[in-house]
Each structure stands twice: as C-alpha cells, then as structure tokens.
C-alpha cells in the first residue's frame, strides 16, 4: 500500500534506446543529404518560374551574378580537378568578365560535356545579362541553363 502512494519517490527507468536510435538515424540522414552551397554566401534572390526542369547537379560551371553586379564562378566536377589557369575546380572565385572569358575559352577546350548554369539576381538589368550571354556565345556555348526558383 505504502509504495503506491504518489508522494513516495520511486525511481522510474525509461528505456530511451529506441528513441536515440531513431534520432541518430535521422541525424545521419540529414547530415548526408545536406548540401552546403558556397555560392549562397553572395546575396542573390533568384527569379521565380513555374515551368522549367531541374538544374544539372553534377559536372557544371556556374556563373554567378549577384545584386551588386559581382561576378563569381564555380566548377563542380569530379573529372575536372586540375587547376584551370587561375582557377581551382570545386571552389568559388570572384572574377571579372575578362577573366571569365579566358576561363570559358580554356574550359571549353578541355571539356565538351560540361554544363553551364547562369545564376543571376532577379533585379539585374538586362545589359549585364546580355554581357554574359555574349561571352558564352563568343566561346561557342550555345546551350545553358538559367537558374530559377522553381516549384
């Protein structure tokens, strides 16, 4: 009788093992799926679109144009790992349009399968966009992706 009284302090041992197991499982899942985008450090809001396909995730060159008209680029590739001119793949680098031009001409010679992504802020004037498109055209890159905030 005495032991059933509520004020009697009884040590309750709760088995937390399954809970912790699940927590670790979720943790590994989120850790493995997390993608840290180095480019997102530059302030940039993408234009919205309804249609459009998924952007290429691997083996690409991203040209970044942020709201302050700062150009940067990043090559994401498993095969292109040697440094190209002044640029080391899989890193982000702020560049000028002249540097971009020389980089593009070098890259197009080395790899023809690389996909190109243009990622620009939505408030960028067309003249800036046109400058990049002309650069791409000059280096005979005719197909590229315009990155949008799709649904």
């Amino acid at each position: 009788m005495n032991s059933q009284l509520p004020n009697n302090k009884k040590h309750v041992h709760l088995d937390m093992t399954p809970l912790v197991d699940v927590a670790f499982l979720l943790l590994t899942f989120f850790m493995l799926t997390a993608q840290f985008d180095n480019l997102s450090s530059s302030k940039l809001s993408l234009p919205k679109s309804k249609s459009g396909s998924l952007a290429p995730q691997v083996h690409n060159l991203t040209i970044n144009l942020d709201e302050l008209n700062q150009l940067s680029c990043r090559i994401e590739s498993r095969t292109l790992t040697d440094s190209i001119l002044f640029y080391k793949p899989n890193t982000s680098l702020k560049i000028t349009s002249l540097q971009l031009d020389s980089l593009l001409s070098e890259v197009t010679q080395r790899d023809t399968t690389l996909q190109y992504i243009f990622r620009a802020d939505k408030n960028i004037p067309f003249s800036q966009v046109n400058e990049i498109i002309t650069l791409l055209k000059k280096n005979k890159i005719k197909k590229f992706n315009l990155l949008t905030d799709g649904n």
Partner: protein
C-alpha cells in the same frame, strides 16, 4: 564421443572465463545524446529540400536573328521596356502595353492562327532580368520554345 566431450568442456571453460571477467559498467550517454539531438535539430532546420529549377536556353537560333530582323519574315515581338512594361507587338507591327495574362491570351491567339510562330523577346538594356525570365517561363509554359532574344528597337541607337 570423447572428442565431443572435450569440446564441450573447452567451451564451458571459455564461457566461465568470460563471465568471471565481465564487470558490469555503465557509460553515461546523456551528453552524447544531447549533442546528437542538437545536431539533428540543426540539420533539420538548415536543410533545403527545394532544388532550384532551370530554364533551358539554346542560342542556336540566335544566328537567325540578324537575318530575321530585316522585316522580311514576320515576327511577333515582346518588348520589355525600362519601366518594366510589357509591350506586345503583333505581326503587323501594332504595339500595345499588356499584362502577363493578356500576353498569354495574345500569344495563344497568334499560336492558333499561325503554327510556326516566330517570337522575338526584345528587352531594354535597363529591363529587369526577372521580367525576361517571366516571359521565357510563359513561353515555356505555352510550349513555344523557339524564341530568340533581340535588341530593343530604340536602345540600339542609344547604346550603340
């Protein structure tokens, strides 16, 4: 039989040795679990599942633009001016300021009249990239992928 006896004896002795050496011990897992949960919440909150979309752009037909701008072939133009107005210019050259919805209606009408529609988007130098994407998105939505980007009529005098 004797072999089997020996083996079971051996196993027994091993078991005894093991049980005698086993000391019950507990590790306090609380801090580790705390950290694990902290990391879990961090990754759950920072993960972005939505991947950015992309509008495919092909410049191959851009070569034709220089020839088609000679007004020999009739084109439908969409002008984007500096004040973010959309101006629709039909094949006869009539201009009208439209909203995105009206543009969609106009394009659908033109599409039903003529099967191989030639559309030229002509953004002003100061037009916003956002608007260009909106128009490109609309064309993609209407299954009119063969458009070109041309020069804004007046701006080529100003900007050279």
């Amino acid at each position: 039989m004797s072999d089997h006896q020996k083996l079971s004896d051996l196993l027994e002795s091993v078991e005894k040795k093991n049980t005698s050496k086993r000391i019950p011990f507990r590790i306090d897992m609380t801090p580790m679990v705390d950290v694990a949960f902290l990391l879990l919440t961090f990754f759950m909150l920072t993960t972005v599942f939505k991947k950015p979309g992309a509008l495919r752009m092909s410049l191959q037909e851009n070569e034709k633009i220089t020839t088609s701008s000679n007004k020999k072939t009739k084109t439908t133009s969409i002008l984007l001016d500096e004040n973010s107005n959309l101006i629709f210019m039909d094949q006869s050259g009539k201009r009208s300021i439209v909203t995105l919805e009206e543009l969609q209606k106009n394009l659908l009408q033109e599409k039903s009249e003529k099967s191989n529609l030639k559309i030229v988007i002509k953004p002003h130098q100061k037009a916003k990239y956002d608007q260009l994407i909106q128009v490109m998105d609309l064309l993609e939505f209407l299954h009119l992928p063969s458009f070109t980007i041309g020069k804004y009529p007046e701006s080529d005098k100003d900007d050279g």
